[in-house]
Amino acid sequence: MLKIENLHVNVEDKKILQGLNLKISPGETHAIMGPNGSGKSTLANVLSGKEGYDVKKGKITFLNNNLLNLEPEERAGEGLFLAFQYPVEIPGVSGMNFLRTTINSVRKYKKQKELDGVNFLKILRKKAEFIKMDENLIKRSVNTGFSGGEKKRSEILQMSLLEPKLAILDETDSGLDIDALKTVANGVNNLKNKERSFLIITHYQRLLNYIVPDKVHILSNGKIVKSGDKNLAIELEKKGYEGIK
């Protein structure tokens, strides 16, 4: 699915990622944990193609594509999804319109027929209900005036509609109360299957009680310093980042 080899990334001449390696196979769920400022969001942004990141060295392969050669929208079309740590507001654009536009853009990329209004609504209602997202919220402007929890829920709704091959969740759990956390985890677990992979970026072990990872990696100083199974997250929670090193 995804293979990152010796990735070095600078932001404004500051070295952020320094020789990161990671391999995710189809159907696997990986978690990346690391202290604030260790480069977790940087990794997510580089994978999804955001500008402003200077890739100095390394190679990223996504489903046999050289990922770094693709535009962000092409990566989305190929099935890469990023649930943002800070989803942005788009005033005046209704969620309904946004969701339909994104789905049809991705379908167009895959040379599939566009969804008409009726079928789109049918699918949307089903998915929204599952993650307990109020339809009124979807009618409002995208993320505009949403609470932190509402924004994260909306990211999960988009993920479940776009049905990506690899979903990256950047601190989707932060700022969520326990009920919201459970519905978000439910949304993810519901999407899990033999082909689909997840990269869960988180600060806390808490989320991993609900979304059980196949592998856990610890990111520090721009490198993965330790990998293990779900127990590594528990150990980390007990000892802290200092204790692990």
Partner: protein, 483 residues
């Protein structure tokens, strides 16, 4: 008799008497270049107008000679040589093309993006339309329906002939012939336009648009429109079309006058998409328009909605004079300037009656090296007790070589009146662009989506059939503005 021969005869018949040497030019179907009283007389004679209308034109012309081109707006353009254009040319039937294959592929691709149906594309591009879709017969059916209700909807020239009493009563009462340089020029030389009269108590059952008007082609340069909504009546009027319009005339100076009597309402919507010039700023239409409505009656309402995407220069201020007590004026505007386009647009809300209310929502979008100015006047007269205005002026910048300017003028002469003004300037952020692209939208679709969101409050005022095309048009107008 063909139009050409007819024109030459008319020109000949009056040129003998004048000193400007028309005889050397009669081989053409145009009167000679330049503007003088003879040309004004020729236009009037050609249209077989009554003497009072010719006199009105001449008064306007004489007033115009004493006026100076205004220079207070933000727009910049080379000096126009008014003696270097034609003010009269016979309406030439456009050369009909045999099929869409003969049409410029660039234009076809725009039609496609706008989702204009094939038959409609043919009509717009001037392809001969076969009997399956006969727009003339469609128009005739509608005309019959309107006539039954007593609604008059015809070309201005036809109205002068058939309803002279209405024209005489209302023409120039909202925009006097001395009003401003371009309106005065229009009053002297206007070619044709539309006339609408809605009788008392009638609600016009359909949107009136130039599309259903017969005999109205080639009226572009100095168009004149007059709409009267009598007591308790309602009409929604659509001007323009989303398809790109090319015109060899660089200068356009139209006039639109609206009048509402007691309890009447006029909703006037415009989509303006004249040729904006190329990416280097060459060519394009100069659009200097005077539009004004008078809410004469109590409880009457005039609402302007405009989507301005075309023209090299747009200079227009659709305004409302709120004379009747409790009357309402609205102005909803989207103006886009891309490449080298310039727009100086806004409105005037003149509150004269008691409890008059006005709302102004202006959305200016600048991209490329475009310059976009909102200029608005809100005046509360001494008798405008409890007058209310709300103004919201938002500017959106795409890139860093364009400009947005807001110039509000407020005059309040009544203590009880209230005026509120809000203004914002924003940019399409990199974060918004990336968010949309991460969800699969390419750059152009992302800009289009964000811009449509920005303009939503205005777009929702457009009649349905216009709104969908207008949304696509916004995206198309901004093509090439990012990346």
């Amino acid at each position: 008799m063909s139009i050409d021969v007819e024109t030459k005869k008319t020109v000949k018949s009056i040129t003998k008497k004048y000193k400007y040497g028309f005889t050397t030019n009669v081989e053409s179907d145009k009167a000679p270049k330049g503007l003088n009283e003879d040309i004004v007389k020729l236009i009037s004679k050609k249209k077989d107008e009554p003497k009072w209308l010719l006199d009105w034109r001449l008064k306007a012309f004489r007033a115009w000679l004493k006026m100076d081109e205004p220079n207070w707006s933000m727009v910049k353009f080379p000096k126009i040589d008014y003696q270097d254009s034609y003010y009269y040319s016979a309406p030439k039937p456009k050369k009909k093309l045999k099929s869409l294959n003969e049409v410029d592929p660039a234009i076809l691709s725009t039609y496609e993006k706008l989702g204009i149906p094939l038959e409609e594309q043919k009509r717009l591009a001037g392809v001969a339309v076969d009997y399956v879709f006969d727009s003339t017969s469609v128009a005739t059916t509608f005309k019959d329906q309107l006539a039954k209700l007593g609604i008059i909807f015809c070309s201005f020239s036809e109205a002068v002939k058939k309803h002279p009493e209405l024209i005489k009563k209302y023409l120039g009462t909202v925009i006097p012939y001395t009003d401003n340089y371009f309106a005065t020029l229009n009053s002297a030389v206007f070619s044709d336009g539309s006339f609408v009269y809605i009788p008392p108590g009638v609600r016009c059952p359909m949107e009136l648009s130039t599309y259903f008007r017969i005999n109205a082609e080639n009226t572009g340069q100095f168009e004149r429109t007059l709409i009267i909504a009598d007591k308790d009546s309602y009409v929604s009027y659509l001007e323009g079309c989303t398809a790109p319009m090319r015109d060899e005339n660089q200068l356009h100076a139209a006039c639109v006058e609206l009048i509402t009597l007691d309890n009447a309402e006029i909703k006037y919507s415009t989509v303006q998409n004249w040729y904006p010039g190329d990416e280097k700023g060459k060519g394009g239409v100069y659009n200097f328009v005077t539009k004004r409505g008078a809410c004469r009656g109590n409880n009457s309402k005039i609402s302007w909605t405009q989507v301005e995407t075309g023209s090299a220069i747009t200079w227009k201020y659709p305004s409302c004079i709120l004379q009747g007590d409790n009357s309402v004026g609205e102005f909803y505007s989207v103006a886009i300037t891309n490449n080298f386009q310039q727009a100086d647009t806004g409105t005037k809300m003149i509150h004269l009656g008691k409890n008059t209310k006005s709302t102004i929502i202006s959305k200016g979008i600048s991209a490329g090296k475009g310059q976009n100015t909102y200029r608005g006047l809100v005046r509360m007269g001494p008798k405008a007790t409890n007058g209310r205005n709300f103004t919201q002026c938002d500017s959106l910048l795409i890139g860093d070589r364009c400009g947005a300017h807001t110039v509000p003028y407020i005059e309040v002469k009544n203590q009880s009146a209230k005026v509120e003004h809000e203004a914002t300037t924003s940019k399409i952020s990199d974060e918004q662009m990336f968010y949309c692209r991460q969800r699969g939208l390419d750059q152009e679709n992302a800009v289009s989506l964000i811009v449509n969101g920005f303009c939503k409050e205005v777009l929702k005022e457009l009649p349905m059939e216009f709104a969908v095309e207008a949304q696509k048009l916004l995206g198309i107008s901004l093509e090439g503005s990012v990346g």
